[in-house]
Amino acid sequence: MGETANIAEISAKVADELFGRFLWRTQGPRDLNWPCEEPEIHGKKRKSKKTVPAAGDAARSAEAEPESDVESETGSTAPVVTHPTDVVFYYDEPYSNHRTYINCDLKSYAAKSIQKGEVRKAVNSLARALTCLEKSTTWRTRYVANDKTALYAGMLFVYNHDGEYDSQFDELLADISLSNLDIPRNSKIIVLGPRDIFWLDNVSDHIARMRGDGLIGPPEQTRFFYPPLVLAKNVQPSARAATTEMLTGPWIILKHRLPAALKESVVVFYRGKGEQIEEFSLLIDYLMFHGLVDEGIDILVCALMPDTEAKALFVKAIDDYILRYDGGDEFTLMLKAIRYQSMTQVRRAFSTTEIGMDRGR
């Protein structure tokens, strides 16, 4: 029960205080298992590293365990196979008329417990859940609305509760074999490690504080920015939330309208360190190309833990761009008006205990 309480605590914080700021919504109950649709595949016994005796179920069961996320009811001869769901988020896609549902697996580990085996196991578990959830009446009844075509994703959220994890989480991901990972076509799995969560939490906190200070408009006057693309010109009006691609990308752009303001303002959360002028040149060009630099539009670029020279490089990149673009005085003033600031660091405790190690995933 303690574990369940911890999951409820972390899922509430993650949903309301983190992804809620990115305009993700939650649907259905939290922290519930649902029946597997392919028990003959997902419920098969995984061979132990030890030699399994040639005959005898009892002997095998002593040395084998149900594969990954399989959970069996105690005392039952045939295991009841289920998949877990901690929380389901959804948002509307910007470039297609789809709604993405994210089946989330929340983990909270101490630094020393974040091991590649655990991460690999959790990602494989999510992949298996993805193959079942589209077919699962239970899952769809609980979590999917019928007004839009659904896309499905899994998200592994690996929170480090002691704040001491400083290794390269990417290296753990690199250990996952893509050929063995059976994700259904058009689905995906997103893995957010401690650094991703730290970054997103800071962005989320900054949005909250700016909103509290009256510098960002209310949520209903807020949307994340998706430019019309060459190969996908129509941006869906309902797509206001940050997609998983935006959250894991090099910057997050928020557009908002302050009360009584004529035009929307822009806040760019820049993830890079700002160690090279080219980083900012490219960002400025992106803003220019997509029509965000315009008269009356306030643009603020916020960076987390940037390089000590980042601000100077940002100013230099603006000056350099003005020279290259040669757009006249009005254009120069608009570019010079782009503001740059460092964000104040925060580290929030989503959970203070271990979640995930003994959940059999």
């Binding site: 991901l173 689905s187 190969l231 996908a232 990308g249 220019m288």
Partner: protein, 387 residues
Amino acid sequence: MAGKLIFSVSDSEIFDAYMSAPSHFTEKVLQEEGRKRSIFYSKHEDSASLARKLSRQVYGYRELQPIEEYFSQIGRADKTSAIRIDAALNQAELKSIAEEVASGAEASEEFTSYLDGDDLVVNAIYTQTDFSRNRFRQRQQKEAKVRFEIGPESTTVTMPATAKGREIVATLRNKIEEKRKAVLEIQEVDLSGIPDPTLRTLFFTKLASEFPNSTLNDVLRVKLQGSNSSSTSETEEENGDDNEIDLDAEMTKKEEAVAGVLRGAALSGQDLFGTSVFQDLRQRGFYITSITWRSRLQEVGNPIVEFNAEFEDVETCTSFRYSANTWKVRRSTGEYNESFGSIPPPKRAELLRRLQQFAMLTVQSIAAQTASAGSSVDKSGGDSEPS
């Protein structure tokens, strides 16, 4: 306010970049691109689907760098060209001239020179712009390394077979001539004085089959050019041979039959010299202008090297250029690797030097053969004539 792209890229450009190099941006590589962004896509997605998904994402400097890097690497795989200056030059003289040229280089170029043993190397790093190409190929940082191999009586100058390489060499050559107040005598691999298609083809077949210390392993690609009427008439006049005239007349008839359709041909496959289509084209008066072949070297491990040699100007057979970029070596078990890999730079430089020297000797031998034979050139070719 939306304007011209200076640095950033559109989704379409990203998509094109991924799709334009399928052998590099394989499904596995595209999956890895997703993984770098902490996103695992389905292994059931094909390349186009993955490229579409990736192209819709935001590309910052860190994300664009590997793509830029890949396309700039492609640009570096230039062919090599060479000239021989028949004059005794010395390092100090060349170094001083190179420094003079460097001081007058454009601000957008990085121009350096240094001594390398007995050689002098002049290196220019510059940006090549071509707006007709894929965005990643529009602006490429390129390198033109020109090497002066100084000998007692002559100096061989190797350069990338690019406009920039030739421009640098021409500038340096002009400066030397200004200083010396004399015109330098230049030797090049050049068949402009040998219009006979059979002899032009002979040059390439000798190059491939008689490359020193090697055996011909295979001929993979051949480009042929139809000989023009002037070269035919010259041959007729020079030969004054009734049979040849008849043969040429027959050839002209066949050419007329395909006039306007077939001026050049490119063949690819295996053992091309033995194919009937090659023999037929050769008999029609087509001559080789480009050849890609593999030679098994007679040295430790017997590596199989893939060479290419060609004339940039296929009509006049001038601006000779060549390359040796890949080879297949043996594993410790003695078997050859399944695929060809890059040749290490020192070995590549050695092979290119040997190829250039052999090409020069071959041209000289054919020119000598032509001169000594006068109008009675044996049209059946030499020992290396493919049959």
